[in-house]
Amino acid sequence: MEPLLAIVVGVLVAFSVYLMLRKNLVRVVIGVVILSNAVNLLIFTLGRLDRGIPPLIPFTESVPSEVFANPLPQALVLTAIVIGFGLFAFALVLTYRAYTEIGTINVDDMRMAEPPYEGEELPETAVKGEETDS
Amino acid sequence: MNQFIINILLAVVWAAVTGTISLGNLVIGFILGYVVMLVAAPAVDTEHYTRRLRLAVFFIFYFIKELVVSSIRVAKDVIKPSFKMKSGIVGIPLTASSDLEKTLLANCISLTPGTLSVDISDDGNTLFIHAMYIDNEDVDAVRREIKNGMERKILEITRP
């Protein structure tokens, strides 16, 4: 199973990278979310996989008599999910703020902190219609 | 008094979900229930809680029956190569008055054959449902069926 997940992770990484390179900040943030999912899967996979033996000690025993799935990656991924969620929430609301303050979610138009250099020609952006940024 | 019963009920629910029906667990459940009620008090109209819970239990089986029947009919139609039925949104004048009754009715309708609650009018007197099967294009038949079927059954229980 692990090799299949390796491919899934790679594919998700590719998707997320592509999204992060878009102009639309919402897409960029979605890219980050996908990447974070992919990385969680990566850790989970590299901790090696086992089917149907969750790391729970039965009520009848104090030291498990049988082997079970590696609990450590689970704990790590759980932590990573939560952290990722916190960061995501912030990034998302930042996107919202960017929209209300700067008036755009097009990252190419965000030139407040780094205003255009003298004589710099700004690219034509936010051209509506013709083609979607996909 | 009602609140005490609710508390007891919550303790039982607790014991049920935890799966250990011991005195200790019930006591813990009771304490937790008390805390929950403390938190939830403003949210829940506790006056009607007992009745609500009783209804919930009562209706489960009724729902399940209706659910199975409705699902089988939908299943048939889903598999059929073409769709011949007539459908539409029908307004049902409500006899049910409390929010609970209306909600219960709306949910039941959604889970029974070919009907789906869409909205309740702003004055609260009409329930609009989407009917999948308006047989013979008789809209009033649909209305009647709901009024005499589901609504009456609910009101029988909620207003003994």
Partner: protein
């Protein structure tokens, strides 16, 4: 053995209804119709499979949790359908050609400014 058969029955019927729901969501002609399929068949299908779990484990703690799950499903599924249907309706959805009546539309034209939505209330208005 008996229990195995019972479990199998619930599993098969449950997965059957889930499948029906899925096919319905794919095949049925408009949103309301799809919701009929997903709400009813989906709930039922998932519920039946859950019942099989309750039987399979023969433990009170599992059973109670199964029942809790089913209750939650029955409580939430119709509400979800209602919310989606209502929202979709108000922003203007396409009905399939077999639709013969829309009494909600008449009601809403009567008092167009009484809802909480700030968008076009009326299906016809949004279509024009």
């Amino acid at each position: 053995m008996i229990s195995e058969i019972i479990i199998s029955f619930f599993l098969l019927s449950g997965s059957f209804f889930v499948l029906i729901a899925a096919i319905g969501v794919v095949r049925l002609p408009d949103l309301m119709m799809k919701m009929h399929a997903s709400t009813k068949a989906g709930t039922l299908g998932a519920g039946l499979v859950l019942v099989s779990v309750g039987i399979a484990f023969d433990e009170i703690s599992v059973l109670t949790r199964v029942i809790a799950t089913i209750i939650f499903l029955l409580l939430t599924a119709p509400v979800a359908a209602h919310l989606i249907g209502r929202a979709a309706y108000y922003v203007g959805m396409d009905f399939w050609e077999g639709t013969i009546v829309d009494e909600l539309s008449d009601e809403k034209t009567k008092n167009a400014d009484s809802t909480d939505s700030n968008v076009k209330m009326n299906r016809k208005a949004s279509e024009s």
